[in-house]
């Protein structure tokens, strides 16, 4: 309202000043993604572990490029009679048996023990030791990593994609559709993860998969990938479905429906962006679980099949030699632990950044 006399401040200048102030000092709105990115940037621990994970991935992916140069061996190349030179001495890769005299009595020392980690001493050969066929453990570790990471990451991706679609469909349509999908989740959930994995894994590796025009051999990496992605569907699907159901009630969805937007559009343009941060966190954490599951399944013989190396199969191979050659099982396990730990720490950091009070969490196998 117009004011009298003394003031040079009218409402207009006051309003201008308010705008000025708002720009300078008022509450500034920022998109949630920008806020999250800022929080994540400040979390040095999480970023460091992300770097570790990426390092592992890169090393494994590039293995074909450099590994044989360093170790002078391919990943399946055996070298049972090989000899390495160390400090000028010639050492058999796999020890030959020999006889010693102890107190005048001949004592037979059996052969067949592969050499342990040489670290740098043999010029890049057998850095982490040899296995009983003379194969280079370090090389196999890298190639095994390629397979383990492939199965882990791809199965997590497939699983996440399927779960997102199922959750969106179930949450959006509700009713019978929701009931069916929830029963589907329940049925998968009803089996212990490992048992379901070995059941499917074993059944499928016998003959492979030959239906619907798809032909996959039993030895293919796609078998464990498909099995593991199937097994984890409820772990992602259920929490997401809950979120979609809650979102479904909100007014902006009703508004979109009233505007005549079709189901697909609502699901993907309205609902999906709102669950995106949960999807991201769940994906990261599920990769950690899929890698562990692949290791477990392969260890039991129901995952990656020989001769393809994987971290899990390598642990199994080292089991019988545990007392004499502990490094055979030790290094693949360390590789898995480092990879999974990095994912878990980063996943935690991601969750904290996206929603410091997040209630979405995974139930583990």
């Amino acid at each position: 309202m117009a004011t009298t006399g003394q003031e040079e401040f009218t409402l207009d200048t006051s309003a201008e000043l308010a705008v000025e102030e708002g720009r300078r000092g008022g509450i500034q709105g920022r998109s949630p993604w920008a806020l999250a990115a800022r929080r994540l940037r400040r979390n040095y621990v999480a970023l460091a572990f992300l770097a570790v994970f990426l390092l592992v991935v890169v090393c494994c992916l590039l293995a074909p490029v450099y590994s044989s140069h360093v170790s002078h061996l391919g990943e399946n190349e055996t070298n049972p009679g090989g000899v390495i030179v160390e400090h000028g001495k010639r050492i058999h890769v796999i020890s030959q048996g020999h006889t010693t005299i102890v107190n005048g009595v001949p004592n037979v020392v059996p052969g067949g023990v592969p050499i342990g980690p040489q670290w740098g001493a043999a010029g890049g050969q057998y850095i982490l030791g040899a296995d009983e066929l003379g194969r280079d453990v370090a090389t196999r570790l890298l190639y095994g990593g390629r397979n383990s990471l492939f199965v882990g990451v791809v199965s997590a991706a497939i699983c996440t994609a399927l779960s997102v679609v199922l959750a969106l469909v179930a949450g959006y349509f509700g009713g019978v559709v929701d009931w069916i999908i929830t029963r589907l989740f329940d049925l998968i959930w009803a089996f212990p993860v490992v048992l379901l994995g070995i059941a499917l894994g074993t059944a499928l590796t016998i003959n492979g998969f030959h239906h619907f025009g798809i032909n996959i051999s039993g030895q293919s990496l796609w078998i464990p990938t498909a099995v593991i992605s199937y097994v984890f569907i409820p772990y992602i699907g259920r929490p997401l479905r809950g979120q979609v159901l809650a979102l479904r009630q909100r007014e902006f969805i009703e508004a979109a429906v009233a505007q005549g937007a079709g189901a697909v559009r609502i699901m993907f343009s309205e609902l999906l962006p709102n669950i995106a941060s949960s999807v991201l966190v769940l994906f990261t954490l599920i990769v950690a679980n899929t890698i562990l599951t692949e290791a477990g399944l392969s260890f039991l013989g129901a995952g990656v099949q020989p001769p393809n190396p994987s971290w899990g199969t390598m642990i199994a191979e080292g089991q019988s030699k545990l007392a004499d050659d502990p490094w055979l099982s030790l290094f693949p396990g360390i590789a898995i632990a480092i990879t999974v730990l990095s994912l878990n720490v980063f996943g935690d950091g991601l969750r904290d950044a996206l929603d410091p009070r997040a209630k979405v969490r995974i139930e583990h196998p």
């Binding site: 309202m1 000043l17 308010a18 000092g25």
Partner: protein, 342 residues
């Protein structure tokens, strides 16, 4: 002069957040005597709840810093350790909160929760505590308290839950009852009942009440003195009568204008206060209300003190405009912008 129970001197509460330091309460002072009702009014973010919870020591934490004094019967509660505060909470100061459904533990019976409150401070056995609980429930107007004492919170209606909360808060005869928006989550018809109940119990228990709300209309009946808070500070303080008949601060006018009233001409629309509350991290320069004030002028760039500018002692406000100007122009704001008054 009734016993002075509480004296708050220049209370400041700051919280460290990832965006900066939030000055939630920025220099609040008031007194409270036995038998009196103090109303604290303001929007969300004005600092009214933080003030109340600080009296109880409920805002203590790693990120909180306190300045000033909170003298309860001479003892500075800000200096009391958390463990010692347990003896004050419930026994000397009782508090009820906004949403009675979430404020009660859903898995324990109402009676159990009240008995727990009693046994925390007094040496009575379960049976005596239970008998007292039943009496309390009767006093707050819950029918059939003998049977309802064993009900769970979800079996009570909203109004009854709030009554039960009041019973629980008063169970150990505290000298002060702090009510933080007790009626906000309730139906309008129930609101009046609860307010009436609090007024009656205040006399029955001979205690003082601090009643926090964002709605001046709710305390129009029972408050003796009212504090109007904005951005962590008191912008006006007066007895109820003075506040309603001679308000001195434009923010108060805005609040009054937004209450529908029978004794004024019906405006075309209820007045709203333009703009939104300021960031408590970066407060505006000078008077904190200036950006939203329709009566701001160049002096407002300087921070006004909370002073008595009118004739009545005890009526303080934080506005540079002289009293005549205010009395002439406030009706414009209160009545929603029409030039003519009744």
């Amino acid at each position: 002069m009734a016993e002075r129970l509480l004296e708050v001197r220049d209370l400041k509460v700051r919280f460290a957040t990832e965006d900066g330091v939030v000055r939630a309460v920025d220099g609040v002072s008031f007194e409270l005597e036995r038998g009196k009702v103090l109303g604290i009014v303001g929007e969300s973010g004005s600092g009214k709840s933080v003030t109340a919870m600080t009296l109880m020591g409920l805002t203590r934490g790693i990120n909180a810093r306190f300045e000033g004094e909170v003298l309860y019967k001479g003892v500075d509660l800000l200096q009391v350790s958390d463990r010692e505060m347990q003896a004050y909470r419930g026994k000397e100061l009782g508090m009820i909160f906004q949403d009675p459904m979430t404020s009660l533990n859903p898995v324990y019976r109402i009676g159990e929760q009240i008995v727990e409150a009693i046994q925390a401070h007094e040496r009575v056995d379960k049976r005596a505590a239970r008998a007292r609980t039943i009496e309390l429930l009767r006093q707050v107007g819950i029918p059939n308290p003998e049977t309802r004492v064993d009900d769970f919170p979800h079996q009570f209606s909203g109004g009854m839950r709030q009554r039960a909360m009041i019973a629980m808060a008063l169970s150990c005869n505290p000298s002060i009852l702090i009510a933080d928006e007790p009626t906000t989550a309730l139906d309008v018809t129930i609101q009046a009942q609860i307010v009436e109940l609090i007024a009656r119990l205040k006399d029955d228990f001979d205690s003082a009440v601090i009643f926090i709300t964002h709605d001046l209309g709710v305390i129009a009946d029972i408050a003796d003195e009212i504090l109007v808070m904005y951005a962590g500070r008191i912008v006006e303080r007066a007895t109820k009568r003075d506040l309603f008949y001679d308000p001195q601060h434009p923010y108060t006018w805005g609040l009054l204008g937004s209450i529908p009233r029978l004794d004024r001409p019906r405006p075309d629309r209820l007045h709203t206060i333009e703009g939104s509350p300021p960031s408590l991290i970066n407060l505006p320069q000078g008077c904190t209300f200036r950006p939203r004030c329709p009566h701001a002028f160049e002096q407002c760039l300087q921070e006004p003190e909370l002073e008595q500018r009118v004739e009545t002692p005890g009526h303080l406000d934080r506005c540079w405009r002289d009293v005549e100007y205010k009395r002439e122009h406030r009706d414009e704001t209160i009545s929603g912008g029409t030039a003519q008054a009744a």
